[in-house]
Symmetry: C2
Subunit: 236 residues, 2 copies
DNA sequence: GCTACGATAGAACAACGTTCGATGCTGTGC
DNA sequence: GCACAGCATCGAACGTTGTTCTATCGTAGC
């Protein structure tokens, strides 16, 4: 697909890319500075080329994001395919979901684009297949299997969206870090009237200094417990 | 907060708005044509005023979206507060989650901005409180309560994100409707090798012509079943 | 009537995605 | 060796967006 082999040296004027390098630099840009930093001009500068050149590889920005997303999902998929099957398909589902979540923690921008377009994202489909295959080992109807995988993906996406929120400017500036920011929100909650907000006060200490991973694991555990019940399995 | 009472008549040149009218028209614009249609120029035209005037009411577009989101969540909250408490807190949680989901089906753009910023979105916090209050009726630790509400909100958001995806251009044009579009994707899946994609083939008929509401209800049911188990309740 | 200020608006700015047209590079047929 | 074709590149320009600047209008209080 991409003919021009990279010959970097010799102080050339014209840059020569490849689909691979475009996607690699796109992901690097997203990793380093988040989604708003991904502009065609910034990407072109990184690639040492012109803006319009990128359009030779992708039709538009949506496609660029789809391909970049699929690119990293490819490596996540490789990790997941490396996981060995255990006796318990639900344990395997948990392990896969956790691997997925960990990858999104490393790349918060993924949350927004994850599983957006299964046409351009063939690795997403492979991942979906891989998750679903575990449900084939459970005693369920096809419809239940379909819904089970949707539910698990939904839990991951639901948590990922939380993580993917662009933090306010003051956090990006480094003036305050994420914990301080959340702590400040917690403080505002504490000042609410306990009569009007009994639940908020009940959980305020849990919210303050909470761990996103714990939160995700708990949500996942509820879904998996429900699934285990549905499959008529007694317990682990 | 907003002094100028609307006196619409008399062929005036200068428009006079109010926070209320700005948010109402913002929501109307979002409802009619989705998030990409919301521009300051389009909004100003609807309001019969100038672009810069909007900046007297909101600091920037993010705040406009936060306030508009909170505005509609206010009416959702009113619906939810109207729901009577039953014997079973989990039944009540289900009813509230379903009401929430229905509202997002009507306004797919909500999914993207839902519960983004609890500072500017005071109704979101009230909604969160309302959900959590049901968990106070269950035998759980504060941490479990916190995670339970997060999980339920996560399921809603996870499903909402699916719904909130801007459909491809051909669907917006009306050339093909959403069912046809999904049916075409299903057809592509059918052509995959069943050896490589056993799960996809297992559930392809379920996917084709599936109902989003069913999908959401199933995911919610798994979480609620897990929660019931955790609370040590025998069953409904 | 004058003034202070709440509220409005047009014009301009910078940044973005995208398109256009021209230009360079490289392998192929003679 | 040379022209040609087409792949790949790039600078400049276009239209649209969020946002800011500055000037202006209208009304409440002296």
């Amino acid at each position: 697909m991409a003919h021009p082999q990279n010959r970097p040296g010799q102080g050339r004027r014209r840059a020569s890319h490849s689909m691979e390098s475009v996607l690699t630099e796109t992901v690097a840009l997203l990793d380093e500075a988040g989604a708003p930093a991904l502009t065609f001009r910034a990407l072109a500068q990184r690639l040492g080329g012109g803006v319009a050149s990128i359009y030779w590889y992708v039709a538009n920005k949506d496609e660029l994001l789809d391909l970049a997303t699929d690119h990293v999902i490819g490596s996540i998929l490789a990790d997941i395919e490396r996981l060995p099957d255990s006796d318990d398909p639900i344990d395997d589902l948990r392990a896969m979901a956790l691997a997925l979540f960990d990858a999104i923690v490393d790349r918060p921008w993924l949350g927004a684009y994850f599983m957006r377009n299964t046409d351009a994202q063939s690795n997403s489909l492979r991942l979906y297949e891989r998750l679903g295959r575990q449900t084939l080992r459970l005693d369920l109807t096809p419809r239940q299997r379909f819904h089970a995988v949707s539910a698990i993906v939904g839990v991951v996406v639901g948590s990922a969206v939380d993580l993917g929120q662009e933090p306010p400017q003051e956090v990006l500036d480094g003036a305050v870090d994420r914990d301080q920011f959340l702590g400040r929100a917690a403080q505002a909650w504490r000042e609410l009237d306990p009569k009007d907000y009994p639940f908020v006060h009940e959980i305020i200490d849990e919210f303050d200094g909470h761990d996103d991973a714990d939160q995700f694991r708990s949500a996942l555990e509820l879904t998996l417990a429900g699934l285990r019940l549905q499959a008529g399995q007694a317990g682990a």
